[in-house]
Amino acid sequence: MNPDAVQKVEVLAKSFVPEAAISAARSPQEAKQIEDAKQVRARFNANQDKPLAALLAPEDIDDLSGIDIDSEVDRRIGEHTPPEEDRRAKAKKLAHEAQTIAEKGIEGIEDPGRQDEIVEEYVAKVIDIRGDAFRNLSRAEKEAIARSELSRQEVRVKIAELLKKGLSPTAEIGSEDERTLAVKMQEKGQKKAEEDRLNLEIISINDGIARLQQELMDYQPENAATGTPEGDLHKLLEQAQARINAGRATELTRELVALYGRDRERLTADKASVRQRAKSGEILVDPTEEKLNELAQLEEAQREYDQRRIRRDSLPQEINNLLGELQTRNARLQTLTLETAILDLDINPLAQKKKAKEQAVVLNISRIVTQAANNVLNSDVARRDRVYGDMLREKSEEAEDNDETTLYSALGSRWERIVTRGGKSSIETIRAAIETDWKFAIASGGDISTQVELLLSYEIRKKIKLGTSPDKARRILEDAARIRERLKTDSAFAEKAKAEYITNLISRRLATGEPISVGEQDIIAKYGWTKHVAQAVEQIVQDDETLKTRIEQIVESTGVEASKLEALREKYPSQWATILAILLSGVAVPALSSGKHWYDIFKRK
């Protein structure tokens, strides 16, 4: 920065304009960047619905409103080849090479340079990586390779040997990811090839089934079209069958038997003789020959018919067999499709999957189950209360009579659950107050809300006794939690609560004649709550009967004459309540001079 600029900055800084000083201290580039940032920010703010639009340079897009940003981004993406695609392309190439080597050996790689690369990479990887291929070599071979004593040609021989064992040398080439991917792609290729083969077989089987089904149909005479070979055959068969059925064959046989008797040998010999004579032209037509020919035709038709019937009867079974074959192939095809789909999953998002696995959101089973169980319990009040009721009863039996601390302590975390709706902090406070002597807790100090809260906790402790239903306990604690929250923000309410507490406390003591405990006296004195004591007493003095009883008690216990008390009441009406409080409870009232005065008087007495 030049001296002038430094001076300017100093002046601005001294003039209590730090922003201006900082601005002035910026380099021109920084100032330009900030200006640029403002413009980008403005574009971003104006295009909240298309947040990435602001990243497109304004010189490229003059009017954002008229352009589909998503399409524009897509178009730009299309100009780049993502790294993932590069990686996949490389793996695909490796898989292709592996397939080529498996089929044709290393010589199958057309590029001699690539051949050398593969061999070199293979040797390097075999030495460095103890893969399957390396493990399958003998120890001597491994050592030889490790010492690079094998020539390139020898390595090629080894590759060929490995290929015979079904191992792919390219499995040792490339990065681990690429090799895995290549293997997967090769597997996918094999599966695809099997799929193709199966599909062809399925087509063939389907054709066969269709043909057999058609043949079966054709054996039904009503389905045989006339003019076709099948139709003609059926016609012939029908005629033959009709004649056979009509007894023509039997008739012919009978006629022949009549001619030749039952001498089959003579008939046979005669048939041969007649045929010979007819053949030689010695005779033109022989009636016997006609009969024989007709019979032969009938017998042939019968045979044909029988064969056709056997064929027809066997067709359904053949079709069934083919359907079975089809089913087997379809099942395999389904398996292959599934396996290919799984391989696809492995091939495409391989890197992402690996990373996602490392970065997976690990859920804690027990936490989920507990959360679910709690949700269920909370949504089912009756069930929850039954659980807690059982638990309370069980613990009550264990706890000593009236030993609430033992009970609550035994309840532990269960207790917390009962009061869950009261809020965590209030539960902790209440539990602390319950499990620790509240008086000591108060004595340790705290603001007014805390004091009242602890007093409330004490009351809660007394309200929630053994046998209190969990539901009631929860309601009490919920009330307490609400009160606590209000005490934090509403000081008037806090004061009123405090006054009510003291009034109730004194009232109870006065009503029962039970003395206020030392601890309670300490608290009242320490926190200057005497005016609340006085207010409590004032309430008492409104009740003539109670007052009369208490004055009698005072007279009896202190020896102060009743007339003197009456005199005090008349002389100091405004302080009468305080005087009574002191007399009744024995509370020292150091905060009130008049109180102290009266205390001293009676003490001397």
Partner: protein
């Protein structure tokens, strides 16, 4: 897990805000800004699922730490969704009294998430 268009835009807005704030405060320079912009624009259309989004944010954060806040937020989102789904399923089973099945379902869900 599906990624709604609205949620994707919300994440885009967070990314943009983070990027612009860093640029405005000179925490990154123009070259950084251009490189980040290019990376975001290239990768954005490939983000189709929540899984893609998380992978993208992890890569983005690995390259430029300024985006770690966006990733943290999104991780929390994924975790919340997965957990809610798991809890809902187990709740249903638990309410039907199928405790063993609920436990088994929890194990499976955890395994599935880990295997993703």
């Amino acid at each position: 897990m599906d990624l709604s268009a609205e949620h994707k835009k919300e994440v885009q807005r967070r990314i943009m805000d983070t990027l612009l704030t860093a640029y405005e405060k000179l925490e990154i320079n123009r070259a950084d800004f251009d490189e980040i912009s290019k990376f975001i624009l290239e990768r954005d259309p490939t983000i189709q699922t929540h899984h893609d989004l998380i992978v993208f944010l992890r890569e983005l954060t690995a390259k430029w730490k300024i985006f770690s806040f966006v990733l943290t937020l999104e991780n929390g989102e994924v975790s919340k969704i997965e957990e809610n789904k798991a809890v809902e399923k187990i709740e249903d089973l638990t309410q039907e009294g199928k405790i063993d099945e609920a436990l088994e379902a929890a194990r499976k869900i955890v395994k599935n998430i880990n295997d993703q």
